[in-house]
Subunit: 113 residues, 2 copies
DNA sequence: CCTATATTAAACCAATAAGTTAATTAACTT
DNA sequence: AAGTTAATTAACTTATTGGTTTAATATAGG
């Protein structure tokens, strides 16, 4: 699989996105990250492995803890991919805006053509 | 599942992203979309259903054709989600930049502290 | 050395995903 | 009416995912 697919499928899980959101506020150990969730520590550990394989997080080692931190690169790659479509949805928006203007000018009694 | 998860998992497949890229250039029928791929039409039809359920495309009907077109909303939602992390990776970049500046000032013989 | 804590590994299970082929529906063409 | 083209549905297979429980590994602290 290509890296973008791996990244996107890692992101396609609410638990994993919540973990990333938590890590955006700073490093945390595996058990700290697991604490808010209603699932086993083992399950969270697996989610972390998925995130790690996607390069979205990295793990250090401090005694028996594995402090995790957010890595920006894959997210930036998603952003780059989206870039090609930004054009598209701006165009789309422009069209809507012109239509809105048209309605504005036409007034209530002229639904336009 | 939440809509963002549905969107991201729809996007986490290279075939489906290729379909979206194709649709960014304009509408196309199911068979037109299937043509470049080395898989059955049925398989592509299923991919389209995944994209449709995620709201990434919509299908019209013209005689026996179902012209598909790209829908911007879910992509915009992904962009919005990324927004929270843009801050993060800019910070990260800033740090790198300051470090680069530091190296610049220090020169070759002063690796700095 | 023993024990508690933090994390990972192994084995398993149910549900979902991605593909196949064959059959069906729908609309145009002759 | 019969045949062709476009697309979907159904039934099936195989692999992956997300979770479980139990067992193993590693480190710190008495």
């Amino acid at each position: 699989m290509d890296t973008l697919s791996i990244t996107l499928s890692a992101l396609a899980d609410p638990t994993r996105r919540a973990i990333l959101a938590r890590l955006a506020t700073g490093e945390a150990s595996v058990s700290e990250l697991a604490e808010p969730f209603d699932m086993s520590l083992v399950a969270v550990s697996k989610h972390l492995k998925v995130l790690e394989k996607a390069g979205l997080i990295s793990k250090g080692r401090e005694a028996q803890w594995r402090p995790c931190r957010l890595e920006p690169k894959p997210l930036r790659q998603v952003d780059d991919w989206l870039e090609s479509y930004r054009q598209f949805w701006n165009d789309n928006l422009d069209r809507l805006e012109s239509y809105a203007e048209l309605l504005q000018k036409g007034g209530k009694n002229d639904p336009g053509n």
